[in-house]
Symmetry: C2
Subunit: 436 residues, 2 copies
């Protein structure tokens, strides 16, 4: 299709009519004046692809728009300029986008799983076909992070990205922190409020945050980090005791997604990246992100830290971001200015065992003399020094002993914990988290 | 010039070789690999316009680049694709940009004074000539606010903008808060550190923040607010006592720039906008913005609040933002996708006397009985109720009496203060600030 900007309506084929798809239809109906003012042309939806074409759904469509259950009817319709993919999942969505690109359609999607796990060929195809792929809705909810990395920050060397990329987990941790709830109750409450799915795996086990981090790594560093190799630890086993104890030290526990570029002595770079719960000092802005909010902190050589904060979840917010992507297409955006990094190379990865960090440790020990001495000996064996120790009061003869370490590697930490367990002084598995 | 993307270098004419201009030359030299990776083509500077073409300056130029003192030599050079204006000021910069646009050059500028005060004809001319004007560097330092408002948030109805847009004032207020300095000492320190100009008027009297707010209003609301009519109050008279007293109530005093759209009953909208010192509760993210940092909070109907935080000052950070704008031009950005709001209309303005707010008030009174009663009577006359009162200990018989009011209008507040003064109970001018 021509890239000159016309005043003809931009014609959309929409795949998926769930909450985000329904929200997009609503915004397109309600915001015609805004759209006209922003881009000087209409945006009309011509076809909506659904699995079940019910009369109830047909009744929600704008005039002149029809339901279809046939993918090709959407991808191959010559009148359609842009396909909006809001089906989710990887298999069918990949097939749809691939076929639409073959037909020269631009793509707007909010599908982070697909983009993180299986999109290399799609971006390649988009380049070949001179088509736009926009996906602001796929990362960090309403925070304009894709646009920020591709345009205003394009002139910076980003050194690290750190953030809270999953609103559901953050809601659960916030409730555990503020109201002293345990994990199961906080999860149930999040489900009742519609913040968590019936199967919360993607959210609470960290995979959703890892999907988003994979996309941010590509945009910020021009590096490909294979999703399957990313270290991911979620919050399913989070004990409310640790949240309370961390607070006594002045910290909040957050599910952190982090990627950090290391410059090696020989001029090469290696990437450290992963998702993990960590203690964040309460004076940091990231510690103050509450509820379903997301936040991203970017550090760059020239600009210093930039912190972005906004809602991380919700159908209508996501729909509004998808609409913004559509506006960019309507405005005559071209593939060249959507900010693809021109050359993506495979990242050289810092092995997780080499990561350096301070640690918070909680062990349950019997209230006998000599235990602290034995524990300290195991840590000292690995050259780990203990910075602060709290010994809590007796609970049925088993005492939580909590301490923070000076900086060490994940490997040394893991070996020290192994030794502590072998020393036979623990009454339960040790718990330890990184401190940011 | 053609808008097709080529692999030919993008040729730049640079006007101004101060700290930002020098920083840009440095980044263009150091970041060739980044530029190639981001946009697949070179960016070369062909000419630099300066007032004095000294040999020292000539020595800093890249190969093949020459100094000139003749504006037309820059604007009329057919080899130049884009003119970067970093001279500052309004007169000469306006002439330069106007002439460059006439010659069909794209423009990148960081000149907020010019854009806020005298740019209507320039944007008009850019549209006629199909030229790009980019100006991310002109607002809020490293915070990607122009890009955010024009692209990722384009699908939202923004309802309000609130932020800290001047790094110098924020540095001064932060020092007064953290170290108990008075205004004059904090200003001197800011000057010594290079954060404040020898003439700090633009910064500390609020005009710089007002310039930036004018630009944000245009981008966010599609409204033109005449800069000359904007209510602006700076921090030059800030007394460190008020900063300390505000803290006792749990607040920080910040120089706030705010614009808020009011929907009237008849469907029309009116805009409330201005720059003023205000008390912000310490739990708000905006209260936690320290030093030379800037922050912007956007509220929109769909996305909820979005908060952006980053460095607000510095030559190299601004140069990096200018570079990002150049990358967008190099990438084949077109005038249509730089996010001009298509129709700018004159804002209907809420008169400052109608603004509603809670207030912090400090009056100096003699330590006699009946004073509080008389004061409360003056407030009650204007239907202003007092929420919290602190009476401080005696200082040479003159006592600061501090209170916070419930919400009232600026007009009622001003009349009440007038009455208090007429009642003859004050030993000094009253001080009052809005509470956000």
């Amino acid at each position: 299709m021509s890239q000159s900007v016309s005043s003809k309506p931009l014609v959309v084929g929409l795949a998926g009519m769930g909450t985000v798809g329904g929200g997009l239809l609503k915004l397109l109906r309600d915001d015609r004046e805004l759209i006209e003012r922003r881009v000087g042309r209409d945006i009309v939806v011509r076809k909506v692809l659904v699995r079940n074409a019910t009369p109830e759904r047909a009744a929600q469509l704008p005039e002149g728009c029809e339901l279809t259950t046939d993918m090709a009817s959407l991808t191959d319709d010559p009148a359609i300029d842009v396909v909006v993919e809001l089906m989710g999942g990887t298999g069918a969505a990949h097939k749809l986008i691939s076929r639409a690109l073959e037909q020269g359609k631009h793509i707007v999607t909010a599908n982070k799983a697909l983009l993180a796990e299986d999109s290399e060929d799609l971006f390649q195809l988009a380049r070949e076909k001179n088509c736009i792929m926009r996906y602001e809705g796929s990362v960090a909810g309403c925070i304009p992070i894709v646009g920020t990395l591709t345009t205003p920050l394009a002139g910076n060397h980003i050194e690290s990205i750190m953030g809270i990329l999953n609103g559901t987990s953050n809601y659960i941790l916030s409730e555990m922190t503020t109201n002293g709830m345990d994990f199961a109750s906080a999860l149930r409450q999040a489900q009742e409020l519609g913040y968590a799915e019936a199967d919360p795996t993607l959210d609470v086990d960290g995979f959703d945050a890892a999907h988003k981090l994979t996309l941010l790594i590509r945009l910020a560093f021009g590096l490909d980090y294979p999703f399957a190799s990313m270290p991911v630890q979620g919050i399913r086993n989070m004990d409310k005791r640790d949240i309370a104890l961390a607070r006594e030290f002045g910290y909040r526990i957050k599910l952190i997604a982090e990627a950090r570029l290391h410059k090696e002595a020989d001029g090469s770079t290696r990437l450290e990246a992963g998702v993990f719960p960590a203690l964040v000092h309460h004076t940091f802005l990231v510690a103050r992100v509450g509820g379903v909010y997301n936040a991203v902190r970017l550090d760059s050589d020239v600009s210093g830290p930039i912190f972005l904060h906004g809602r991380g979840a919700g159908a209508l917010p996501t729909a509004s971001v998808v609409l913004s992507d559509l506006l960019a297409v309507a405005r005559g955006d071209t593939p060249n200015n959507t900010g693809y990094v021109q050359a993506i190379t495979r990242a050289s990865i810092v092995p997780p065992e080499d990561w350096r960090s301070r640690y918070y440790v909680r062990v349950m020990v019997s209230d006998k003399s000599g235990v602290l001495r034995d524990l300290a000996a195991c840590m000292a064996d690995e050259d780990i020094s203990m910075a602060q120790v709290i010994q809590k009061e007796n609970e049925e003869n088993v005492v939580p002993l909590v301490y923070m370490t000076h900086e060490t590697t994940a490997q040394a930490m893991s070996r020290a914990m192994q030794k502590v367990q072998e020393a036979g002084i623990l009454m339960a598995e040790p718990v330890y988290y990184r401190i940011l």
